[in-house]
């Protein structure tokens, strides 16, 4: 599949603006965003006006727009990094590609700029293979295939729900890890896309992600909010929680989640040591989440994504609610999210 085969009309690029000045960001992505429709969602807590250069087909949503669509009380669901979820909500497209506003295109080992948008769409358009591990990774890419011993009945794969990209320069490490190794930068370009096997849990990062909105849109839940959640990734877990839900639901419904290419180049933002000073409750919440997801079984009757989210929210409330109020809030947010999704998307 090549650039010529991507249908740009099927894609929305959703950018959560936590920085007011998007000039450098959009200019550097210009060649790869060209021809696509963009949705820029401004963090409702950001006071300054957004600065968006000319030449893009873009719809911008700010706090007032959010409140018109979801009501004033619900706009808090979309603050900080979660503002992008509003973009997912109002999009009408099949695929969403979402990149943090502190990332620019990376270069591959040959020095070519990586077209992350095209790579994500290629990942989403090709089947995933979660039921059996292929040791040559993505069997559908040029020059690779299924290896000896790969069951033939599984070679047509399953629909791909999400494509999780990676990061050169500043990898998505947590605050303690980055604070310990302040000079550490990720220089390893691993030239592979692979499907994360069914039942395997992973930390999905929101920094560089794409998904099939038509397939799993409601499963991208803006739910888990850390007390004192900040405006740097080290001070959030919303994407990791969202990813755990998304993976679990994808596994349940028989879809696949891919990881690997494309890379983006991630820049300096914030200070890991500063972030460490905050009480890092994210660690505790993850520890509690893992055994929960590990043992969770969604009912066989949950066949639609929305139903899966509701069932998941119920289980979160029952099993994790007493551990931490953040979980109860997450469960409530997940239910509210499905309601909003249904109301916004049925009136379309």
């Amino acid at each position: 599949m090549s650039l010529a085969e991507i249908n740009k009309n099927e894609v929305d690029i959703v950018i959560g603006a936590l920085n007011a000045d998007l000039t450098q960001f959009l200019t550097s992505w210009g060649p790869f965003f060209s021809g696509f429709h963009l949705i820029v969602v401004k963090d409702p807590e950001l006071k300054e006006e957004l600065n968006i250069p000319e030449g893009f087909d873009v719809d911008v949503y700010s706090k007032t727009d959010m409140e018109k669509v979801v009501g004033a009380s619900n706009s808090t669901m979309f603050s900080g990094y979660s503002c992008r979820y509003f973009g997912y909500l109002v999009s009408k497209k099949k695929y969403i590609v979402s990149i943090d506003d502190d990332c620019v295109p990376a270069k591959d080992p040959k020095g070519f700029l990586v077209d992350a948008v095209t790579q994500h769409v290629i990942n989403l358009e090709n089947p995933a293979t979660p039921l059996f591990f292929n040791t040559l990774y993505d069997p559908y890419c040029e020059g690779a295939d299924f290896v000896r011993g790969y069951p033939f009945s599984l070679r047509s794969g399953v629909p791909c729900a999400a494509s999780c990209g990676l990061w050169l320069n500043l990898a998505d490490l947590d605050a303690p890890t980055q604070a310990l190794k302040t000079e550490k930068r990720n220089t390893a370009y691993v030239d592979a896309v692979m499907t994360v096997p069914a039942k395997a849990m992973l930390p999905i990062s929101g920094i560089n992600i794409a998904f099939n909105r038509e397939l799993v849109g409601p499963a991208l839940v803006p739910a888990l909010r850390l007390a004192g959640e900040g405006k740097v990734r080290w001070e959030t877990l919303e994407d990791v929680w969202c990813g755990m839900c998304l993976k679990h639901i994808s596994d349940h419904l028989g879809y696949g989640v891919k990881t690997g290419l494309p890379y983006v180049w991630r820049n300096e933002r914030g200070d890991a040591v500063e972030s460490l000073r905050k009480k890092w409750e994210g660690m505790k919440l993850m520890e509690k989440s893992v055994p929960f997801f590990d043992s969770l079984k969604l009912p066989e009757t949950a066949l639609k994504v929305e139903d899966c989210v509701i069932e998941l929210a119920k289980a979160v409330k029952e099993q994790l609610g007493s551990d931490d109020p953040a979980f109860t809030q997450a469960a409530d947010a997940m239910v509210k999210w499905v309601q909003l999704w249904n109301s916004v998307n049925s009136s379309a």
Binding site: Q119, F133, E142, A144, D174, T177, A188, L202, R233, E287
Partner: protein, 374 residues
């Protein structure tokens, strides 16, 4: 923390703790290329086919060699579990080894080069893989977090960052990939590379990663470039009944891989895949391969759901116990698919009996009259 496993310190050679097991039917000329990397290790050569043929081993290697006559002599009636006219016979080498680690490699595999042109020391990479932990319980999106330059990503639970012990290191191949016969027939010219120099990808498919295959996930284990902790998982590395007199071939390593993964998952151990690459030079005849694989292609459709649904009872606390339990289940459940599986289940039990005999404290020492120390 992952940094404890940094290779700032040189990787230990483990030359007294690792045996290299090589099955062969022709010659061992390929060892010349591996000399700088293998010369300090002890080799166990398992000669398949006609035992009267003399296999030439390049001068300077320390080895023991076993042909079919030796296998029959050492195992007696239990030799029935060791395949004949198939590289599956290599597992005899695992059984007679006295070392902690095994590296096994095919005699048509050569030293590969990485994208910078540097020769890859495959054995050293396997050792690094085995000596550092695995992460089977939670997938790390930056792959092996214990490699230099990598680490755990945000959201990776701290309680899991010590990882699990690594039982197996599964390496890959450049040039001729490990495809089955139907794929070989459809893609005769393809090497493990990209035909077109797309701006998004490198021309040679060298994937610079090692990763742990998650718990609960099966994979096709290839025996061409494989290392494992023999003391840990050795008894499960039976390569089955293939070749002469058997209705199937080229599924020896696959069978071992499914058994090994189920048992590693049960025991909480990790299986890694990825680096190192070796250069696979010879594409075997796809028509010959098709005849060998034919039954396997159908039987794997039954075998895989079987392995995916197996649960080993928690009373199985040793690998041998797990393996005998598996043999019982193979007989019960897969015996219905074809009587071959009943023969195979018997072979599995015989293998464990032979393993115990050769590896218990009072067990007979395997005599290899064809060994040499230089």
């Amino acid at each position: 923390m992952a940094q404890l496993y940094s290779s700032v310190k040189p990787t230990p050679m483990l030359k007294d703790e690792l045996d290299i097991v090589i099955p062969t039917i022709r010659n061992l000329d390929f060892l010349e290329m591996w000399r700088p990397f293998f010369e300090q290790y002890h080799l166990i050569i398992v000669q398949d086919g006609d035992p009267s043929k003399v296999i030439n081993i390049p001068v300077g290697f320390d080895y023991e060699l076993y042909n079919r006559n030796d296998i029959n002599r050492i195992l007696g009636p239990k030799a029935s579990c060791i395949s004949f006219k198939d590289s599956a016979c290599r597992c005899f080498g695992y059984m007679v080894s006295k070392k902690k680690y095994i590296y096994t490699i095919d005699d048509d595999c050569f030293v590969a080069k990485d994208p910078t042109g540097k020769e890859i020391n495959a054995l050293e990479q396997h050792i690094k893989n085995l000596l550092s932990p695995s992460t089977p319980h939670f997938f790390n999106t930056l792959y092996d977090p214990y490699r230099d330059g990598a680490d755990f990503v945000r959201g990776y639970p701290f309680s899991m960052r010590e990882g699990a012990i690594t039982a197996v290191s599964h390496g890959l191949w450049l040039n001729i990939p490990d495809y089955d016969a139907p794929t070989q027939l459809v893609k005769p010219l393809e090497k493990n590379s990209r035909k077109f120099d797309l701006p998004l990808r490198l021309p040679i498919l060298y994937v610079d990663a090692v990763m742990t295959i998650p718990k609960g996930t099966l994979f096709p284990m290839c025996g061409m470039n494989l290392a494992f902790d023999r003391e840990l998982i050795g008894p499960a590395m039976y390569f089955g009944l293939m070749g002469d007199g058997q209705p199937i071939g080229r599924y020896d390593d696959m069978w071992a891989g499914w058994c090994v993964k189920v048992i590693c998952d049960h025991m909480g151990w990790g299986v890694k895949t990825g680096l190192p690459y070796i250069w696979h030079s010879k594409a075997s005849n796809p028509f010959v391969n098709l005849k060998k694989e034919y039954n396997g292609i159908f039987w794997q459709e039954e075998a895989i759901p079987f392995f995916q649904s197996v649960t080993l009872p928690k009373e199985c606390t040793s690998v041998q116990q797990c393996y005998l339990e598996l043999a019982k289940l193979v007989r019960e459940k897969l015996g219905k698919v074809d009587p071959y599986f009943i023969t195979l289940a018997t072979g599995m039990v015989t293998w464990i009996e032979a393993w115990e005999e050769l590896n218990s404290a009072e067990g007979t020492e395997a005599e290899a009259p064809n060994g040499k120390n230089e």
